[in-house]
């Protein structure tokens, strides 16, 4: 067992995938950094992406497979699709998910649809690694989560790991997957760590995880919200309220059965999602529960989300924007009394 950060676990999964399959390539903006200054010592692999996640890959595997791109997401996302169709397993980095708009056509209309629309003859085994999340004082255009944007599109798979264990296991399986996968990494989780076995096997896409067993209330937490759910559960345990935490981990496909089992057990549900509330994962999960588990519910599902605003910059406002441990505790207490 080794303690790993999410950032290192992702780097490990990339290195392992590169070693296992020569068809794996990586494309993105400054995924190495220092391109064009190779003649100077120490410039190579200067960045490894803005968060240093891909650092070392260029040095280890070379510029043919680790390709720094121009700031042209539509261009290299489209290229990933063509490369995937013809035999490679490209991983492309969308530096921030907030940049989805400049290459959404490639994901929505091409990557997601070519298999279906052209009669099932093609597959597009590509992974989009992207950075999501508020809490970095990064303002409205570098802080969104946008989980539901991609989850909405048939043909795409969406994965959003919380800890280093899941990050490594799910990235390994995303790269092996034959469908296009959006792999979302939360910038506030990169430096969090947990035990990750060196020989960790790929974790199947579509399987959620019970992070804590409990009997009174189910908290369904999306990505970073697991942190607050854990904190809330610890507090509530002190006053003898037992919370079950469900981390769906992947949103398309979604492990509905795991959610329903927990709902049947507690009958009281809170969904915590850092995204804006309209047409969010929180609203999707809440609607599924009311459709499939209505008779098991002892109270209406409570959704805790960000408000219907862009992500604000200033710390007091951004902290207000992000769902909090306190909001979860308050909601659980409210449900407990039902």
């Amino acid at each position: 067992m080794t303690i790993k950060t999410v950032k290192d676990a992702i780097n490990d999964a990339l290195v392992q995938s590169f070693e296992e399959d020569k068809n794996v390539i990586l494309m993105g903006e400054d995924i190495a950094g220092g391109k064009g200054r190779e003649q100077y010592q120490g410039t190579q692999d200067a960045w490894g992406g803005p968060f240093g996640v891909t650092q070392g890959l260029y040095t280890k595997f070379g510029g043919e497979r680790v390709r720094d791109t121009t700031i042209a997401e539509a261009g290299f996302f489209g290229a990933a699709i063509g490369a995937a169709m013809t035999g490679l397993r490209p991983i492309v980095e969308l530096m921030y998910v907030d940049f989805a708009g400049v290459c959404f056509d490639q994901m929505m209309n091409q990557a997601a649809k070519v298999r279906y629309m052209f009669g099932g003859k093609q597959k597009v085994p590509m992974v989009v690694r992207t950075v999501v999340g508020a809490g970095f004082r990064a303002g409205s255009e570098h802080s969104q989560t946008l989980y539901s944007l991609y989850t909405h599109i048939p043909g795409l798979k969406v994965v959003a790991p919380y800890d280093a264990y899941d990050a490594k296991g799910l990235l390994l399986s995303s790269i092996k997957d034959d469908d296009p996968v959006i792999f979302m990494e939360h910038k506030r989780l990169y430096m969090t760590s947990c035990e990750v076995p060196d020989d960790l096997k790929p974790i199947p896409i579509g399987k959620g995880r019970i992070r804590r067993e409990g009997t009174d209330v189910t908290i369904i937490a999306i990505q970073r919200m697991n942190l607050f759910a854990e904190e809330a559960a610890d507090e509530l345990e002190k006053i003898n309220i037992s919370c079950e935490i469900v981390d769906p981990r992947t949103y398309s496909p979604l492990d509905e059965e795991l959610i329903f089992q927990s709902v049947k057990k507690t009958g009281k549900v809170i969904v915590v999602d850092e995204s804006n509330p309209k047409c969010s994962l929180a609203s999707e999960i809440s609607s599924l529960i009311s459709e499939k588990c209505f008779s098991d519910l002892k109270a209406a599902v409570i959704k805790i989300t960000a408000p219907h605003t862009p992500v604000p910059f200033s710390p007091p406002m951004e902290d207000f924007y992000i769902p909090s441990t306190k909001k979860i505790i308050d909601a659980v207490k409210k449900l407990k009394d039902v």
């Binding site: 539509a74 063509g82 091409q110 070519v114 298999r115 009669g119 048939p154 579509g206």
Partner: protein, 325 residues
């Protein structure tokens, strides 16, 4: 000197495409064909001339105006027709329709409804060829309207930067939907836009199938030799409207009349003796093409509709939960 077999192939394909498009236009007028139809009357020489320079397993991308590319690339006529009719035995199992006629097994990466989606996808296929040290030719077809779209420019920039020997084929047919090309261009020649990428480009007569073939063949060799992308602009005229049912009020009659003098089929016929085909040879090819088109439409008429639930298939390679939730 072009071999006899290739000349016959070129003539057969160019007539097949014209007859096919005339037939589908007629049918669309007489009875209902589901969905949108974008025919390529006037583009036959570009479709056939470029494809004559390719192998069956070379990669291409097409657009919603794809019937000619698909026919020239070797897709089955029966399957194309069934697809346009929305039948189960269509080339895309009825899930694509006229705008998305594409057969991956014939080297088609896709026929995209989004203008300028193709160049970047072909760039990726060409990148794969480069990384795997394979040598398939990679060609993206698009119209003059696509050259203003960012995705085209992003693909062009990366192709040049990465030394990717792909071929950009722009069919400059005079119209971007209902907007005249001479109005929407900012440069004197369309291919001048490649100057920003220091990319080689050549302009050819898109009505002359042998000129298209010749330019394309040379470009492929040059691109591979120099490890560089090449942009080809073929000028022609879009006799079809943007779509079937288009009033084409924006296309002046005198312009159409003038363009008819350079109709690619007319030119091909006029040139036939130069390429060693006598009147009988030509007639034989024309009859064969007609017959094959007739057979394909008869075939499509008899084909079954898909089951409604077939809509749920092949969204993913593998999806562990039921798709229709």
């Amino acid at each position: 000197m072009i071999e006899k077999e290739k000349i016959n192939w070129i003539y057969k394909k160019i007539f097949t495409i014209r007859f096919f498009e005339e037939r589908i236009k007629k049918i669309a007028k007489e009875k209902t064909v589901p969905g949108y139809l974008h025919t390529c009357i006037g583009s036959e020489a570009i479709c056939v001339g470029v494809m004559a320079a390719l192998n069956q397993d070379d990669w291409i991308s097409s657009t919603y105006r794809n019937h000619g590319h698909a026919i020239a690339k070797g897709c089955e006529l029966n399957e194309i027709t069934s697809e346009i009719y929305g039948r189960k035995t269509g080339i895309c199992k009825g899930r694509g329709g006229s705008m998305h006629i594409s057969d991956f097994s014939k080297g088609m990466l896709g026929s995209f409804g989004i203008v300028a989606a193709g160049p970047a996808v072909v760039l990726g296929a060409a990148l794969q060829e480069k990384i795997n040290k394979s040598n398939k030719t990679c060609v993206s077809f698009f119209g003059d309207g696509a050259i203003h779209n960012g995705a085209f420019h992003e693909a062009a920039g990366l192709a040049k930067l990465w030394d990717i020997p792909m071929i950009f084929v722009c069919e400059n047919n005079g119209y971007a939907e209902a907007t005249a090309t001479d109005w929407h261009l900012n440069t004197k020649e369309l291919s001048d836009i490649t100057k920003a990428y220091d990319m080689l480009s050549y302009i050819g007569d898109g009505n002359n199938v042998f000129e298209v073939y010749d330019i394309t063949k040379k470009a492929i060799n040059e691109a591979k030799q120099k490890n560089t992308p090449i942009f080809l602009e073929f000028k022609n005229y879009r006799f079809s409207g943007q779509y079937e049912g288009d009033t084409q009020l924006y296309q002046p009659q005198e312009e159409i009349d003038k363009a008819k003098q350079n109709d690619p089929i007319k030119l091909a016929k006029e040139n036939s003796s130069k390429y060693g085909l006598n009147k009988n040879d030509l007639e034989k090819i024309i009859n064969e093409a007609k017959e094959e088109v007739d057979k394909a439409f008869d075939f499509a008429d008899t084909q079954p509709w898909p089951q409604p639930e077939d809509a749920l298939e092949e969204v993913y390679v593998n999806y562990p939960v039921e798709i229709n939730r």
